[in-house]
């Protein structure tokens, strides 16, 4: 179907639209959202999404806990967040309206399925009065459509039963939305065909009929006086797909295996929100990926260490409570200087905490959560797509420096899908692996003069037989040593080895003025919110810059100099100030924190408000450099 000619409806151009689809978890809201997302992506918009579905156990239909939603921000400029508050709310039932109305911006557009606004519907949602009549919708632009009736009518030719026919109402809604944003239905029709497949051709046909009917209905009644257009964003050319951080990490680790030519051995124990990495890798046995579920977190850590001792890439993933259990074994990897990577998809703590909610509160645990002085490298991806790059980077560092590497992701990154420009594998740098083979000069703790890495000497190599373990080692020979000066020397060597990684990682990049009044510095999943907030303020002329740390130990070499160039530093974190604590101790600077500990990511507006409050009144001071 072709979009209707402009006719008597004009077009209004918008920079971006934030739309939220909401309905019962049985209404196909996630599918609706992801189809429209895909369509927006194909149209050339930049996109960011926030799917939000109820906890594991499905609540009764029509109730408040049963509401599922999907928010999409599609834009003609770069976007890094799904947006704080929607401008458009599509509500398929009263419960969905009730849950989400408070988030809608004043004057926002509401599209309702009028057929669901019945006394029975209100009762299920636990609402006493009809929100269309009690003033709840005052100040919004409300469009009630008989979506269920239109759907039943539209799919009649397929002969589907009422129940199945009614399930196509999400597609009818999508047709309405397509009309509103001047979209062709063709792309979505193709997607419907590929989703349902030839085995479900009848359902595919019904869904397409509903989609077209929605479009046609909106066009016929001239739903709005004008339609909206969001122009293409200028995105880097290439092939794109959507990806979650956990999927991207899994692929990144497979890439690290291929780039190093070493098998990937993934050992883990199920834990939310890291289990998807296990599921992803378990499917990849035909890649030779040896992914296994262990009896506990400790076993998974031990198996990763054993794999590394044997010359493979040892990997494990977990969340905070699992890190607690792995700590002793991880310390063994520090002492034996073996290349393993530990992924921590952080969640709310302490203890079992908030398993399905996000937090960044394991940074100090990663830094210090082991007995003795036990330094290791820490990397932190800043976006779902970056989860791929940092997975490769984690193993590059682990192998080159013979050290365990912590990979700090979080629930928001792990589960959040975002567009990913699929990298060209041929452009990735191979990871050098040099096993020791020459018995002549071999000592298990003889260090590379540049990196301080000890040799990777794997069993099966004649003449290199040696014993390693958790006891303190004599420098060089690796024999068990209780010598006091040797111990001090080894503690310093282990720390120095990690510090030298700083020569081998990119310098911190500052976005915006390179010097000035305020720098907003973040790490991990706060990247999108910080960057968006700061870019918005820069457009207003404020002297504010942002920077994001993807390497937390060691920190980039230029960080101290960067901090010195700004009058004030703000560090937003989803914890009580863990990075801030580290930076204050290291750089003796008075760094301000913005700390949100609600299991929820930052909203862009929260950061902008805080930044505004820190800028001098009327500050439009330009960069000094």
């Amino acid at each position: 179907m072709n979009p209707a000619a402009p006719g008597n409806t004009g077009y209004q151009s918008l920079e971006n639209v934030i739309i939220r689809f909401a309905g019962d978890s049985g209404d196909g809201v996630q599918l609706t959202g992801s189809l429209f997302t895909q369509d927006s992506a194909v149209m050339g918009n930049d996109i960011s999404t926030l799917p939000d579905f109820p906890a594991e156990i499905r609540a009764p239909a029509g109730t408040l806990p049963g509401v599922s939603s999907f928010q999409l921000n599609f834009s003609s400029r770069d976007v890094h967040t799904p947006g704080d508050r929607p401008q458009v709310l599509v509500a398929l039932n009263p419960a969905a309206l009730h849950v989400h109305l408070a988030d809608l911006v004043p004057g926002g557009l509401v599209i309702l399925n009028e057929d669901a606004f019945t006394p029975a519907g209100f009762k299920k949602a636990g609402i006493d009065t009809d929100p269309r009549e009690d003033g709840s919708l005052a100040g919004f632009s409300v469009h009630g459509l008989p979506i269920t009736a239109l759907t039943l009518e539209a799919v009649k030719p397929t002969g589907l039963g009422k129940k199945q026919a009614e399930r196509c109402k999400n597609m009818l809604t999508l047709g309405v939305v397509c009309w509103l944003y001047d979209r062709d239905c063709d792309v979505i029709e193709t997607l419907i065909d590929s989703r349902f497949g030839s085995a479900n051709a009848e359902l595919a046909a019904a869904n397409k009929l509903a989609l077209q009917a929605g479009f046609g209905y909106a066009d016929t009644i001239r739903l709005m006086p004008h339609r909206y257009r969001v122009e293409k964003a200028s995105l880097a050319p290439g092939k794109y797909r959507r990806i979650t951080g956990n999927s991207a990490a899994a692929m990144g680790f497979v890439a690290a295996s291929q780039l190093s030519g070493r098998p990937l051995i993934y050992a883990s124990y199920p834990i939310t929100p890291a289990s998807d990495i296990l599921h992803e890798l378990a499917r990849l046995r035909h890649f030779g990926v040896l992914a296994g579920q262990c009896e506990d977190e400790i076993s998974a850590m031990g198996a990763a260490i054993g794999a590394a001792f044997g010359g493979a890439l040892g990997l494990t993933a977990t969340s905070g409570p699992g890190v607690c259990l792995k700590s002793e074994a991880l310390n063994l990897a520090v002492m034996t200087e073996l290349p393993v990577v530990v992924v921590d998809v952080q969640r709310g703590g302490p203890s079992t905490g908030l398993p399905t909610k996000t937090e960044q509160a394991d940074l100090l645990q990663a830094m210090f959560g082991r007995n003795g002085e036990s330094p290791l490298a820490i990397v932190a991806p800043q976006s779902p797509a970056d989860c791929f790059d940092m997975a490769v980077e984690a193993f590059r560092i682990a192998i080159k420096y013979m050290t365990p590497v912590f990979y700090l992701s979080d629930g928001y990154l792990g589960n959040g899908p975002e567009p990913w420009r699929i990298p060209d594998l041929d452009t990735l740098t191979p990871i050098d692996v040099n096993f020791a083979t020459d018995p002549a000069a071999f000592m298990p703790y003889l260090r590379d003069p540049e990196t301080l890495a000890r040799p990777w000497a794997i069993p099966g190599t004649p003449g290199l037989e040696h014993r390693i373990g958790g006891l303190e080692k004599a420098d060089g020979s690796g024999a068990v040593s209780y010598d006091p000066l040797n111990h001090e020397n080894m503690v310093r060597l282990r720390a120095e080895k990690i510090e030298r990684i700083a020569d081998d990682i990119p310098e911190l990049e500052v976005l915006g003025p390179q010097a000035g009044e305020l720098l907003v510095l973040g790490w991990g999943s706060t990247y999108g919110a910080i960057r968006t907030a700061v870019e918005d303020l820069q457009q207003e002329g404020a002297s504010v810059a942002s920077a994001h740390l993807r390497y937390l130990n060691p920190l980039p070499r230029n960080l101290g100099a960067v901090l010195d160039r700004f009058d004030k530093i703000l560090v937003p974190e989803m914890n009580s100030g863990q990075l801030r604590l580290l930076l204050r101790a290291r750089f003796l600077k008075d760094i301000a924190g913005q700390n949100k500990i609600q299991g929820q990511p930052f909203k862009t507006s929260e950061i902008s408000e805080r930044v505004r409050s820190m800028l001098s009144p009327g500050s439009t001071r330009r960069a000094r450099a």
Partner: protein, 309 residues
Amino acid sequence: MMPQICAENGLAREDIVFVSGIGCSSRFPYYMNTYGFHTIHGRAPTVALGLKIARPDLQVWVITGDGDGLSIGGNHLIHTLRRNLDVKILLFNNRIYGLTKGQYSPTSEFGKRTKSSPLGVIAQPVNPLSLACASRATFIARTIDKDTKHLQEVLLRAARHRGSAFVEIYQNCNIFNDFAFDHLTDRKVRNERLLYLEHGRPLTFGADAEKVIVTTGRGATSHFGVATRSEAIEEDIVVHDEATGNDAYTYALSGIDHPEFPVPMGVLRALEGPTYEEQLAGQIEEVQRRKGPGSLETLMHSGEVWTVD
């Protein structure tokens, strides 16, 4: 002794790895000139798991003790055995914590007075062989440090077994639990109190092999008893079968103990079965046959891909 055993198996020393936990037993790798990994308390089987998956070509030995393997590391022992990972587990049982200077262990006798149980242990001891049986180990044996000939025979059998081999070694601790097994090994009582197992032969003991283990009752009510050979009815005499898959027999045998019975010594069970790493390799082969070797390029481009020009 270990070098001989390894040599008899035709292995070069670079292809052998001893992995240990923490405890007196776990110093073991330092006495060997092979590869070795002295890990942390209780966790040797976990390191062995990753190592053996990465390197099925290596022969991997796990050296543990009653505290390391049955207390802090008990979970890993169970799961290693049920996987049938091809590792040889030697559990040196001295019924005491020696390295930490004399606390009771999971195999200390009920009522035993130690530094940490001055009024006596108030928990029942774990029977390592019964635990191994319940964990579906494919090779279960017991031997004793003082009988070096028997020790060597059993270790050789363990080395040749494909899959998890579990060997309990009664080990004296001359500092903290001296004479722990003298009540069994003393020359005067040895024949009465030890039951040497031989596959296909009746379970006999005594100075002149005049006593036998008999089974009384049938089916669910059957249990073991002791009789003299002359009194016993021939069909009641238990004939040792190390190759039976009958858990009930192996479990019953693992449980007989001093003073009611002589203590079994030797190979209780030796079953053929696919190892964990073989099955893993088999799954890879099978899925590669069906799907072909995985292409990362294809994987990355799966799902809904769009192009920006």
